[in-house]
């Protein structure tokens, strides 16, 4: 510290009466014997007295009221640092809770999206149907009294509801195998034109031995068209129908299908029922040639009723309103005329 600063501090402390007796005597001796120090001390005294003489300012008249109002507000709003800390913790907890809920909600949404995109619809429905259903464990045990007469259980008739099935629009191929392909082709084209379905014909492919018509239209239009084409069955050696299953490019093929069967299959709304009907007709038609052979064997004057070899066609037991629903359904049909 500079000597000057030391003297300054000493003089100021002496002026303020902050020195002990020894230091005070020392300062006094310094002031008495040194002109410069004395002048300095007197100047300090003057300036100190100037500041001390400044008028005192009183607090505004409303200070007390303002303070008490603020204190009341603080108490009412509980704005003390302690309560602010607690409020802060509560706020933090709430924020964490909301964040967790939001994350869970997003995760659930993501799961639903992934489930919807990657899992087949039938599996989804099965999963949803089985979700929450408790599996009942099967208890296997020996009947304690084997000879005891069991009370007959009355089985009541239960209405069989159509099972849930995925909504799969009809997609089928209809193959006309004929020796007069030109006539059949002309008739098919004319029928399409008459039904004003040419605009809904997405492709017409003509090859050397076959002609393809690909139609995408309402099922009602399709049924009308097939109704018009019924006359072609007489011109064909065979008519084959392939009904597409839920799996891409997988078909149930029916040989020697009649026009009425085609119409029936087309009218079925329920996918499972449609496929079951197609499979049944396919199996029946596969058996029919054997019945024709037997028919020929007994053709010579036997009394056998040949109708007994005709297997009953599957009958649709769907509720009445299903047919009405089919009218607006989209459908896809590929008509193939083959030599």
């Amino acid at each position: 510290m500079k000597e000057f600063d030391k003297t300054e501090e000493l003089l100021n402390s002496y002026l303020d009466g902050e020195l002990d007796e020894r230091r005070s005597t020392e300062a006094k001796r310094l002031i008495d014997h040194d002109e410069d120090v004395r002048a300095k001390y007197e100047t300090l005294e003057k300036y100190k007295s100037l500041v001390e003489a400044l008028p005192c300012d009183k607090a505004p008249g409303n200070t007390f009221e303002e303070i008490t109002h603020r204190l009341e507000r603080e108490v009412l709003w509980d704005n003390s640092p302690e309560s602010s800390y607690k409020a802060g913790r509560r706020h933090l907890f709430l924020r964490r809770l909301v964040t967790t809920a939001a994350v869970l909600f997003l995760a659930a949404g993501l799961f639903v999206i992934i489930f919807d995109v990657f899992v087949p619809e039938s599996t989804r429905k099965q999963f949803v149907a089985n979700f929450g259903r408790e599996r009942q464990s099967q208890v296997l045990y020996e009947r304690p009294f084997a000879d005891a007469k069991m009370e007959p259980t009355v089985v009541e008739d239960v209405r069989v509801e159509p099972e849930n099935s995925p909504i799969v629009p009809l997609s089928a191929k209809l193959v006309f195998k004929t020796s007069a392909p030109i006539q059949v082709d002309m008739f098919v084209g004319k029928a399409i034109m008459n039904r004003q379905l040419f605009a809904k014909t997405t492709a017409v492919v003509r090859k050397s031995s076959s002609i393809y018509y690909e139609l995408e239209c309402d099922k009602s239009d399709l049924i009308s068209l097939i109704d018009d084409l019924a006359i072609l069955w007489k011109k064909c050696q065979d008519v084959q129908m392939s009904v597409e299953t839920e799996i891409f490019d997988n078909y149930v093929t029916i040989d020697r299908i009649s026009a009425s069967d085609v119409l029936e299959i087309c009218q079925v709304q329920n996918y499972n029922q449609r496929m079951r009907m197609a499979e049944d007709i396919s199996k029946i038609n596969a058996v029919s040639p054997a019945a024709m052979v037997i028919e020929k064997l007994y053709a010579g004057g036997t009394d056998i009723d040949l109708n007994m070899f005709e297997l009953p066609k599957p009958v649709l037991t769907e509720p009445e309103d299903v047919q009405a629903k089919t009218i607006e359904d989209p459908a896809k049909l590929t008509i193939i005329v083959q030599r």
Binding site: D5, E8, E9, L11, N12, S13, D16, E18, E42, T43, L44, E45, K46, Y47, K48, S49, L50, V51, E52, A53, L54, P55, C56, D57, K58, A59, P60, T63, F64, E66, I67, T68, R70, L71, E74, S80
Partner: protein, 209 residues
């Protein structure tokens, strides 16, 4: 016991002719006694306001800072340990608040000291300083113009120096109390007082030139 220092500064709080035990008031205030809270406020509001005004230099800010100091002090009464007096504790809050305020509002510089003073004030100040008689603070009655000049001179000081000069020469605190109030070393108090007074002298002499 609190010696009522207002007598020195001609400040007399309402009903303060009686020497009151600060600790008793503080204990009662801590228990929620509104009368004691009121008494504490009335006892110190002028002194706090006066010191804060001399440090910050603006009446509105001083009123606001005084209220802040009381609210904080009274809210924190439950944390107040009687290691120091309530008076020191209150001033510690008030002065530190004011210094923080000054630091935050550094850009709001006080106006130039010699911008507003006429020759009359300067002459009065020059006569006062030239008077060889030893000044008696109790008998000094400086004119309004000199008071304004000294005010402006104080405002030119660094806030830390201004605070110690105000606490010493206006609030009449001892060096130890200043050190406790500002939470600084005793040596720092001494040096700041010396430097503050020297700076004030230079500033006021510059006005006279």
């Amino acid at each position: 016991m609190v010696k009522v220092k207002q007598e020195q500064n001609n400040i007399s709080p309402n009903a303060n002719n009686i020497v009151i035990d600060d600790d008793l008031l503080v204990n009662q205030a801590r228990a929620g006694n509104m009368a004691s809270i009121e008494r504490l406020i009335l006892l110190y509001q002028d002194r706090v306001y006066n010191s804060v005004l001399k440090i910050c230099g603006n009446r509105d800010d001083a009123a606001e800072l005084t209220q802040d100091a009381f609210v904080k002090a009274l809210q924190g009464l439950k944390n107040f340990r009687s290691d120091s007096s309530f008076y020191t504790w209150l001033f510690r809050i008030a002065v530190n608040n004011t210094l923080s305020f000054c630091r935050k509002n550094k850009k709001l510089k006080f106006e130039s000291i010699d911008a507003r003073f006429g020759p009359e004030g300067r002459k009065q100040l020059a006569d006062f300083l030239a008077d060889s008689a030893s000044p008696d603070p109790a008998k000094i009655a400086i004119g309004e113009e000199i008071a304004v000049i000294v005010h402006r001179g104080l405002e030119q000081l660094e806030p830390a120096q201004r605070a110690v000069v105000v606490l010493r020469d206006i609030e009449q605190m001892s060096y130890a109390e200043i050190a406790e109030t500002l939470d600084i070393e005793l040596g720092t108090v001494k040096s700041r007082i010396a430097r503050g007074r020297e700076s004030l002298r230079q500033i006021l002499e510059a006005v006279l030139e």
